[in-house]
Assembly symmetry: C2
Homo-oligomer: 297 residues x 2
């Protein structure tokens, strides 16, 4: 089924017409930082570009959005990296502007669903997606569906507490996986440890060269990521784990460490199947289009 | 549908004929500690007692068993509290002895399913069962089904790591929920802290009287149980949590502490609905009978 996916990011809005996981046409516009009305207009513009290029027959439009969402009311409660998105009625506004069925989904759920259906986990019955970038998000998938949970909270795996008394996260809690192992946490630890501003890329560059301090920071992040994955294996036990997001691009140097840490904390249990995401930045639009297809299919 | 449930415990085997969650007839026999052949004979004896009391028309027999199970082969890999259960072919042996369809289920999954379908969570679409006794087990339920996971591991929530470097558990890992907050862990901490053998009951008695050392032990166990529940809310987000097992009988004194700790680690997220189990020790046979009914229904 041909549907349109919109992926609302902190800097870009990606839009694509997608049929069964294949992108037929795509476009991008900048994400305004000037409030929800401008964001809605930009989303409409991206969608209209494709609708007017011969894709007026799409069955529905899916939107992958950051931030906590209220699925019942079709609103974004807030978006950490986009200004003026507090209580944004994104579904109602896009329905009015595009006169089509609009389906809202959390951006990590959308990207993870794309990997589950069409990417790294496409042959698996169940999978868990972990996106590691500035922060850490995730999604749970069974059959062909997202498990959203009772309050849309399922898959918020970056916020599980793994080190009570550990570093504080953006959620105000101490010792979450995200506060220890996300990109921003690695940069925080390196900046403190080296006594000057240092970004995640430099930490990994130094670690690759075998510098002990950088290696300690990288090993610690990989260790807690492994503890998190081992916990998830004991709780949800998916057939496979898919790791996406910016930090998945570090490649084997980091993934091998995550796999070793996971194995250590799964001693005596079946081994976890950990894979790298395959769809890159296209996962967001493909997943958004997929949830739209599921909603009207 | 009328089915027969068998609940294989460390000291007793409970058997009941159950129809849609109602116990029509029940019996008990001691659990032999003399090896699997005697255990199989005892299970047969308990079942036959009921079959010969006018319940020969049961559609199938469900067995709730402790220990890691191999669902594919219908075997118990081992049972921590029953001697001689290594690689016990429980399904094949009972099929031969009883000439009926035998359905195997993990004991925590069986008890949790009974609470999900007929007990504390009966009106909920999804629930998570946590059984806190000597150890800590659990089960995940969606719709009317157990989520077993890809390797039968789902719901092993007692083994999630919450304090890397913390106390060692029976699984050889440091700092699992079970190793910190189960009954045996509380007794270990009290025995060390008081410098003499002390059981869980005495710790709670002393804590109720306000004794600081005992209160610290109880508060610490409740805190980590709350951290675990908050993590599970962020991962699976069930409509409700049900707490069963021996330690649920401590009542409000302990449950209030668990609720407070959960709320602390869910700040900013929707509140968790935490309930006490309602079916008591009947949960095991009711759930075992329910999985049998689902398997043939």
């Amino acid at each position: 089924m041909k549907t349109l996916g919109l992926d609302l990011g902190g800097t870009k809005i990606a839009a694509a017409v997608v049929d069964d996981g294949r992108i037929l046409d795509a476009t991008r516009v900048d994400t305004p930082q000037t409030g929800f009305p401008d964001v809605a207009a930009a989303l409409e513009r991206a969608a209209r570009t494709l609708l007017e290029r011969g894709h007026g027959d799409v069955a529905a439009v899916g939107v992958g959005s950051p931030g906590p969402l209220d699925y019942r009311n079709g609103t974004v409660l807030f978006a950490p990296n986009i200004a003026g998105m507090e209580d944004a009625p994104i579904v109602a506004e896009l329905e009015r502007r595009l006169e089509r069925t609009i389906v809202l989904e959390n951006d990590a759920n959308a990207a993870g669903l794309a990997e589950h259906l069409f990417g790294a986990a496409r042959e698996l019955e169940s999978s868990l997606y972990l996106t590691i970038s500035t922060g850490i998000g995730g999604g749970l998938f069974m059959g062909d569906r997202v498990i959203r949970g009772a309050h849309g909270l399922a898959g918020e795996v970056g916020h599980m507490t793994l080190l009570p008394g550990g570093p504080i996260g953006g959620d105000g809690l101490l010792g979450s996986l995200e506060a220890i192992a996300a990109g921003r946490s690695i940069a925080r630890d390196a900046s403190y440890g080296y006594g000057r501003e240092m970004d995640t890329r430099e930490v990994f560059d130094r670690a690759r060269k075998g510098e002990p301090k950088a290696l300690t920071i990288v090993d610690n992040a990989a260790r807690f990521t492994g503890i998190g994955i081992a916990n998830l294996a004991k709780i949800f036990d998916p057939e496979g784990f898919v790791i996406g997001g910016g930090m998945s691009q570090v490649g084997a140097f980091y993934l091998d460490r995550i796999r070793a840490a996971t194995a250590e904390y799964l001693r005596g249990y079946p081994e976890a199947d950990i894979r790298l995401a395959e769809l890159g930045t296209d996962a967001g639009v493909i997943g958004a289009a997929a949830v739209a297809a599921q909603a009207v299919g």
